[in-house]
């Protein structure tokens, strides 16, 4: 009886069981991710001041902004890792703000998240890190090993399968983190500054992996970065499975649907609000001084 009474405590029970099937796809005609007047603040003050935007199925949305602009906060709010002070966050048809943590845990199994520093579990090997989510699904060891190796081959990290994170370089850890996020082929992936702190060559490698994930698996992505090169890389290139490499999109560099590439749009944050939202090329040709400052950093 004690177990029953404890189990009935409201904080222990899900507020509303959410069918797994509902979590894996967007509702037709509705955005995959939608923020409506979201506000959040901390001791220092309000960080996000009424953020509203949408991400549609198959789209890649790049969040640009200075350090402290709130890019990571938006990612964590979308993944339900933080709760907003006000406003609504909808992801794949679910109102994240109204979901209990227990439901959010089930929901997040269908979402990939790549953290800024990788956030690998340092007491586990690469294989154990990548298979972490799969172990919850009670797969056989053979199938587990097969899927882990498959995704490590995808990020070109199979030789490091038995290594620990502290034996890997920053770029390698980032790649393993991407493998961990993609192992279950989620329909939605959040990349939080995946190229932060990496050299230009390694950053290109990471962007290539993101392109492959986008173009081969058709994931919807939200990518936070302070590097405008990342936005243009995703907007102007695609992964060609036939050629097995990244190729440029269109003669004029436009990376939008008209040239066969998935839509890639940019959202620039400034002082807690959206300063610009549109295609990467619109930003490129903008005469706004603040946007020009961002573009100058890419030169």
């Amino acid at each position: 009886m004690a177990v029953v009474s404890i189990y009935n405590l409201r904080m222990m029970c899900p507020s509303r069981p959410v069918p797994v099937s509902k979590m894996t796809t967007a509702v037709p005609g509705e955005p995959f991710v939608a923020f409506k007047d979201v506000r959040i603040g901390f001791d220092q003050g309000e960080v996000l001041r009424g953020i509203s935007f949408e991400v549609w199925a198959g789209e890649t949305k790049v969040l640009l902004g200075e350090s402290g602009a709130g890019k990571t906060l938006i990612m964590k709010l979308a993944a339900g890792l933080l709760h907003a002070d006000s406003g609504r966050v909808w992801v794949m048809g679910q109102n994240i703000e109204e979901m209990a943590e227990r439901d959010l845990l089930d929901f997040r199994r269908h979402v990939g998240f790549v953290f800024q520093e990788g956030a690998l579990f340092d007491s586990l090997t690469v294989a154990e890190n990548v298979s972490f989510r799969l172990r919850e699904e009670n797969l056989s060891e053979t199938e587990l090993d097969q899927r882990v190796r498959e995704v490590l081959r995808f990020v070109e990290m199979e030789p490091a399968i038995d290594k620990y994170p502290d034996e890997l370089s920053g770029g390698m850890r980032r790649r393993v983190s991407i493998a961990r996020a993609l192992v279950d082929r989620p329909p939605l992936v959040f990349y939080d500054s995946p190229t932060a702190g990496l050299d230009p060559v390694t950053s290109q490698t990471i962007i290539t992996l993101i392109l492959r994930g986008r173009d081969l698996q058709g994931v919807t992505s939200l990518l936070a970065t302070h590097r405008v090169q990342d936005a243009f890389g995703l907007a102007h290139y695609r992964f060609d499975p036939a050629a097995g490499r990244v190729v440029a999109l269109g003669g004029n560099g436009a990376g939008q649907q008209g040239h066969g590439g998935p839509p890639t749009n940019v959202l620039v944050l400034r002082e807690g609000q959206i300063y610009f939202e549109g295609a990467a090329d619109e930003m490129l040709h903008s005469s706004d001084d603040y946007l020009k400052k961002f573009l100058a950093s890419a030169e």
Partner: protein, 303 residues
Amino acid sequence: MPARASAALAGGCLLDAPRSGRYASGDPAESPSAGFHTMPESEIATLPSAAGNVLKRMILAVQDYSLLSLQSLVNIFTPPTYWSDTLQQMDIIGVGSLPIIVMASLSIGGVLVLNTASQFQRFGMTDLTGDAVALALVRELGPTIAALLVAGRNASGMASELGSMIVTEQVDAMRALGTDPIRKLMTPRVVATLLMMPLLVAVFDFVGLIGGFAAAYFTLRLGAVQFWTRAIDALEFGDLVQGFTKPIVFAFIVSTIGCFKGLRVKGGTQGVGRATTSAVVISSVMVLVSDLFLAKLLLYIFR
């Protein structure tokens, strides 16, 4: 009720970092009525509100700790359960603590005899040595000192390990992968400590008696039969209940405080250091405080 408390009760995440500035200050203060002031208004308003803020933070911390501890216990009865993690923690906490438990108990048992020997010799009652050592160890010193040793070794380890995971976003990564960190990280540690602590206390008591006997043999020339017969005969059922109820309570205190401090780390690596120290200090003090109440309660029940 602070907003975060109601959010927690409504199923919010117990791992959400408390945004203290929003709750410590409470509602905006009303404008003070116009009137004379010998001190600036800000100073008059600051002192009681600062005291109030401190009190509110303490109450919020106690509430936070209580919810987290309750959740860690409730998780035992609902799936999924991480038995391999629990076994691993049992090895770390139980087997790993054995060396210090053995060394400490040998010393404590010997010291008990050395300090009491002169008194017993004065009254010519050295044959009571076994009684004194057995009663002191089983009723009090075994559970308490073992708990303090486990607090120093394992509560600090829990706080530092979980704190490091918090500051490197590994706990957030765990949540992002759909795994409940309290269920995966805290519950195995609490369960392992609850299971291992009584066993460690049993080892402490036995090895302590061995240490006591060794000291009695070499200082008092007390025979083995005399010592061990008196030691075993002195113990009653109530003494054993006392001696093995306390470890369960102490185990809960040590493990939950260690995990709580780790999961509430703020301030990077410096915060991890503070949390580690705080976990040891608070769990040690709480062991001693709870020992006082437990001793009184158990003596009342069994006398």
